[in-house]
Each structure stands twice: as C-alpha cells, then as structure tokens.
C-alpha cells in the first residue's frame, strides 16, 4: 500500500523510508475473523468466535512455548517472555516497558502477569459522574458482571469465601484462597493493629487441581513465586493454558511468530485483510472482520502506521498507567520473598479514602519479589552501589513489600506517538509520554503514608519507597461518540465497520484494580456483541 494513497494526519510524523518489501504470499482464502494478539484481549474472543463456528485465525508476534519443558525458574533465562523491542519512554515520570508490562508469545502478557484478579467496583466505571474528572465508561458494572462470574469459574480463581468490598457475587470463588506467604502475614498482622481490613486476594492461580471443559485438568500452584517470569506448572491461568487450547479445540488456528505490519482496505475503507511477516517472509491473510488485540502500545501503533480509524483524534491519546508505588522494609523474621504468589493479601479500604484530596482511589497488596527484580529496583530506587549494595541485598530473605495500584486520570500531555527512530524492521519506534499530574501525585503521597504506617506497625526497619507506574492503558478509548472515542461500547471502530479493538487500549479510565480480568471480560462481551450483530444481519 503506497503512502501516497493515504490521507495525511497531523497525529503521524512523516513516514520513515520503508525498506524494500516483497509482494506477500497470498492464499486468497478469506477467513471470517483475524485476531491480532493472543493475550487477555485476543484469546477469550478467539475461543468464543471459534465456538460459534466461525473460521478464525490468530496472529501472534511471539513464539509458542512449551512452558512445562522450557520455562526455567530463573529471571534472566525467562526474558524471552517480554516485548523487548525498544520503546521510547518520555515525560516527567517515564513509564518502563518490557518486563514491567509487556509480553510476547502465544498467551501475550498473561504469560508474565501476576494473575491478580480483583473485580473493579461499580464506581470505578463512573469516575466523571462521581468526581467531575476523567471519563465514565459507556457501559456499567452490571454489563461486565456476568462475564466476571463466567471467567472466575472458567479460569478457576482462588479467592476468599466472602470478599469485604464491592457488590456481593452471585457465586463464591470456585477455589479456596492461596496460602499467605511471609509478606502477606506481616501486612495482615500490622493492618489488624491499625484497623485496616484485609482479605486473601483473588488470584488466577489454582489452589487445587481444577477441571475445565474443553481443556482438561490443570495442576495446583506449587508456590514457586515465579508468576511474573512464567508459570511452568500450568496453575496460573495464562491464555496459553486456558482460552488458547479451548479455541484450538474448536477449530481456531493460532499462528505464532507473525508480526502484522499492514492493514489493507477496500475503496469503502473496510478492512480486507492484513499483511504480516513470519520468518522474514511476507504473507497476506484476507478476512471479513479484524480484531486488534495487540495491547495499548502495539494496537495504536498499528493504527497510526496504517493511518486507520484516526478521525476521532483519540488514537494514541489518553495514555494512562497505574500509580504503583512499592514500599519495602527489612524484618527480623525470615520472609523468603520468592515463595508463593507474590500478592497474597489485599485491602480495598483505600478505594475511596475519607478526606482524600484526590479523585479515585487505590488498593493495597502485599508483595514478595524475585531477587533480580528486587536488585534492579534497589539500583534504580536507592542508587546503592559498592559495599552498600551488597550489604543491603544480603538482607533479601528478610525483605517484604506492599504496593498500591491507583487510578490514573487521562491528561493531554500523556500520549503515544510514532518516533522518527526506526526499529529493526524499519518501522518507527513508539514514543510514550507519561507524567504523573497532581491527582496521581496526591494519591501516591496518601498511599505512601498508609504503607509506611503499616510497615512501622509490623516492625520494619530501613523502609523505603519506590515510585513507579504499572500497566499500559487507554490509547484507543471506547465511548459513545465518534468525535471522542475510537470504538463504541462493543469494541467496534466508529469509522471502520468491520474493525474491532479489544485490549487495555479501549479502557476509558484506568480503574483502581489490576486490568487483566476486565480485559478478558471485555473480550467475551465484544465477541458476544459481534456474534449477536452477525445473527441479526443473517436473519
């Protein structure tokens, strides 16, 4: 597709000289749906569409792994799980990518997610109504609730019998909570003294063997503590052991190592197919419908590269990342922070803190940590080196942390754009501007105070705070109108009738909870809405 054919856009810099590209091979087969990306956004809808009898093909940029055989209990050896192509982090509080939030391989970022699965609370979706800032979602909690319920039972979420926050659930979690590790016990003990309610967290790792229709038995968590470096047991509900096998059992085709570069359209502007690179060869896959589920960086990047669906001016805008400060302390007790799921204990008492000087709120989670991740944070956060570094890290087995996950408002100066720097494929690297503004700073200050009080009550020494941001959200927001949003509440692009987007890019607000469960819920909902529309058309 020649650049000259495309309308110009102020959101896109002058394109880089493109490397000479051969004609793609083309089978001429037209499939019903192509899904780009196999993470929490792509995999659930892939399964749903395949189960409805559609011919679906998923294109995944990364490889397919055999986790049981290939995943080592070693952080460095597992770096292949991360999206390691360089992104440029700009702004006053630049956010980091790679192991912080970006995965690759069949299963996407769920290969290294921590599998925290709290539901948002209903007011999370009505931030503007409640506070007059940020955005409301174009759908309500009640629209997502049936999907949360379905997912919790399909994935086998381990969680408490009764959860102290949010609306009551129609069914209890299917499995008992995972055991509390040292960090969780320390936090629980201190919170009890301070009158802060806590609960074992909901987690998508199995506390007991679990059977799934269409998938089979999955084994229980062995407390390896390596969730963020890949689960070698199959206990963690990453997409490669849940929705992907389910989809494949129903005829979906998953092609690994396929990097999509072009989205082709006809004269009406409807998508006709995609062109992707696999092993250095270019291929075309024609389709009737396209689902972009490549995450909040690669999805808008693809749209910007292809100058597609840019009319709202919102593609790449509203970039958000959760304020995710961690507070670490040293304890006389042995903690062994690598053991068991890192975040076993949660509190949502800070969801809407009384007297807060900010909009939204945050949750608190106890955290264990793998040694290299911790050492990296000590280097960045404390700047220790030489003997001071070695001495501090000798305390590793006595370290425990708490972290928050807080709401983030959209700001005009937080956005993604294409840079002028080419990547190894000759495509422009994305540049992501991110700065905490007053709301994120106030929320973080409040949270730091609470976390320091908790660790003081637990008897911690040498307490320090590491300010960071987590998750990538919001670059193709959903909304009610084509002037203000890229997709509607069903994930369908306003400008391109056979283009759907489903990943964390469509979130209108950040939600003060981990996003994976909600991405999966949106994925199933998007698939159901699509299937209902197809049925109406066929009647």
């Amino acid at each position: 597709m020649a650049d000259a054919d495309l309308p110009s856009s102020s959101a896109t810099p002058k394109p880089l000289p493109q490397p000479a590209r051969s004609q793609p091979t083309d089978t001429a087969e037209i499939v019903d749906c192509v899904v780009v990306g196999t993470g929490a956004g792509g995999a659930p809808l892939l399964a749903r569409l395949a189960m409805a009898g559609l011919k679906v093909v998923a294109l995944e940029a990364g490889p397919r792994h055999d986790a049981r055989r290939d995943f080592a209990t070693d952080e460095k050896a597992q770096e292949f799980l991360f999206w390691n192509d360089e992104r440029l982090s700009a702004g006053r509080t630049p956010t980091s990518f790679g192991n912080n939030n970006s995965g690759t391989g069949v299963g996407g970022s769920t290969l290294h997610y921590t599998a925290y699965t709290p539901r948002p609370q209903p007011d999370d979706l009505r931030l503007r109504t409640e506070f007059g800032v940020g955005q409301d979602w174009p759908l309500a909690f009640e629209d997502l609730e049936p999907y949360y319920d379905e997912l919790e039972h399909l994935l086998g979420i381990s969680g408490p019998a009764t959860y102290p926050w949010g609306p009551p659930r129609r069914r209890a979690y299917p499995l008992a909570p995972l055991p509390l590790n040292g960090a969780a016990q320390l936090m629980q003990r201190a919170c009890e003294k301070l009158g802060i309610r806590t609960s074992p967290a909901a987690n998508a790792a199995l506390s007991a063997r679990y059977y799934q229709e269409g998938i089979g038995w999955r084994e229980a968590c062995t407390n390896r503590g390596f969730c963020q470096a890949g689960c070698s047991v199959g206990a963690k509900a990453s997409m490669d052991v849940t929705f992907i096998p389910l989809a494949e059992a129903h005829g979906a085709e998953v092609r690994a190592g396929c990097f999509v570069t072009e989205i082709e359209r006809d004269a009406r502007g409807h998508v006709t197919g995609v062109v992707y690179e696999q092993d250095g060869q270019r291929h075309r896959q024609r389709c009737r419908h396209l689902f972009l589920c490549a995450g909040a960086i690669e999805t808008p990047r693809l749209l910007l590269l292809n100058r597609l669906a840019l009319g709202s001016g919102q593609v790449g805008q509203n970039f958000m990342a959760h304020p995710g400060m961690q507070v670490w302390g040293t304890f006389t007790e042995e903690v062994h922070p690598f053991k068991a799921i890192p975040g076993a204990l949660i509190s949502e008492d800070t969801h809407r803190p009384a007297g807060a000087d900010f909009a939204g709120g945050y949750l608190l989670q106890s955290i264990g940590v793998m040694p290299v991740t911790f050492a990296n944070q000590v280097a960045r956060g404390r700047g220790l080196w030489g003997p001071a570094l070695r001495d501090y890290l000798r305390q590793y087995n006595h370290i425990a942390g708490i972290n928050i996950l807080g709401d983030c408002l959209p700001h005009p100066d937080n956005y993604l754009e294409l840079s002028g720097e080419p990547d190894s494929r000759g495509l422009p690297k994305p540049r992501v501007h991110f700065s905490f503004h007053e709301n994120e700073e106030r929320l973080t200050r409040h949270a730091e105070g609470v976390m320091r009080r908790i660790w003081a009550a637990a008897g911690a020494e040498d307490v320090w705070a590491f300010s960071r941001s987590a998750h990538v959200i919001g670059t193709c927001r959903m909304g009610h109108s084509a002037d203000a949003a890229v997709v509607n509440a069903e994930g369908r692009a306003f400008e391109v009738p056979n283009l759907y987007i489903c990943d964390n890019s469509v979130f209108p607000s950040a939600l003060s909870v981990n996003p994976a469960l909600t991405i999966m819920a949106l994925s199933l909902r998007t698939a159901d809405a699509f299937l209902a529309r197809q049925r109406r058309r066929n009647q």
Binding site: S96, N223, N376
Partner: protein, 201 residues
C-alpha cells in the same frame, strides 16, 4: 539490622545437581556459571574501553580483582547483538552510544583530575568519579548535553541485575528459589523447607 542470610560457599552449586532443580533451570544456571569463567574477547567495545568498563563494574559491585562474578562481558555481548529490554529513556541516546560516551567521559575526567587513566586510579578516586557521574555533576567536555545521572541509573540497574542473576551472587544473599521441585510447602514467616540450609554470617 544485622541479619545472617548468606549461604555457605558451594550451596547453590551443589543444589544444581539435585532433582529439586528442573532441567531447564539447571541448564540456564550452569551455562551462566560456565560462561562467566571463560576468557572473553570483547566484540562491541575497543579493548581499552572494555578494561575500563570492567573496572567500573568492579567498583559498582564492590568486587575485588578477580571478581566473584564477571558482568562486563554480558553488556558487551548485548550491545554487540543489539539486544534491548523493551524500553529506553527518550532523553538518552541509544544504549550503545550512552555506554561509549560514558566510558570516554570517565577517562577524560580522570585524566583532567588526576593526569591518569581511570583504571590506574586508586579505588577511592574511582569512586569519587562514579559518585559525580551518579549525581550528574561530573565535569568535562564529553559529558556536555548528556543526562549523566539518568544514564547512571540504567548502567547501575543493568550491572546489578546481571550480578544477582548469577548463582554465586544468589548464594551470597541466601537465595535458593531455583530449587523449587516438587514445590514449596513452608512458605510462612520463619518457615524453612527441609532442603533449605541454615544461613551463616
């Protein structure tokens, strides 16, 4: 707080041969142990720059010569292979340029301050240069227009991560998470699985 958590020398190496370590984990750790003990010819840096990088790593990690764990060769290999970790501060040049510039700058400033090569300086003088680098106050033409403090953070994070990925450094901090088969059953405070050794001072 004085806490003994170091494992006796040999603990982790002995563990690697046990069934508590999976084949994939064993392979990764043994390869790393082996590679760090081999002679290494730099492929990205000039020989003099590589010697300087090695000296910087030694100070940052508080290591004597020969060091417990070599890390400079990993940086050289990464830059040679043009590998990245998913992101870079937009305010900094590409990693390869930032490394070259920093090493050139350290050498220049060492010469200006002491009339000697960085590698010939006594430890405290090297540390003073690295402290100025970390604070972004280091003087000299090479550093102009470069956010030295920001890159120092990247450099220190890379060096530190490489060090603590090594089984011998993990032994030092009493880490044996790699020996995770068949499972961990004693996960609470002050609990130790039977295969976990007593830490020593």
């Amino acid at each position: 707080m004085k806490i003994p958590t170091t494992y006796p020398p040999g603990t982790v190496r002995a563990l690697l041969d046990t069934p508590a370590v999976s084949p994939a984990t064993r392979k990764a750790l043994q390869q790393r142990l082996h590679a760090s003990q081999q002679p290494y010819e730099p492929r990205f840096f000039e020989p003099a720059a590589f010697v300087l990088l090695r000296a910087v790593c030694q100070r940052l990690l508080g290591q004597a010569d020969p060091p417990l764990v070599e890390v400079a060769y990993c940086i050289d290999t990464r830059l040679h292979l043009q590998q990245a970790d998913g992101w870079r501060y937009d305010a900094l040049p590409p990693d390869a340029d930032s490394y070259q510039l920093s090493l050139r700058g350290l050498q220049q400033t060492a010469q200006a301050r002491h009339g000697q090569d960085f590698v010939a300086l006594p430890g405290p003088a090297q540390d003073a240069l690295l402290t100025a680098f970390q604070r972004g106050t280091i003087e000299g033409k090479a550093w102009q227009g470069f956010d030295a403090a920001l890159f120092f953070q990247d450099l220190l994070a890379e060096v530190t991560s490489l060090f603590y990925a090594h089984p011998l450094a993990q032994e030092e901090i009493g880490y044996m998470g790699m020996a995770d088969l068949p499972n961990w059953t004693h996960i609470g405070l002050n609990q130790r699985d039977p295969r976990e050794p007593e830490p020593t001072d």
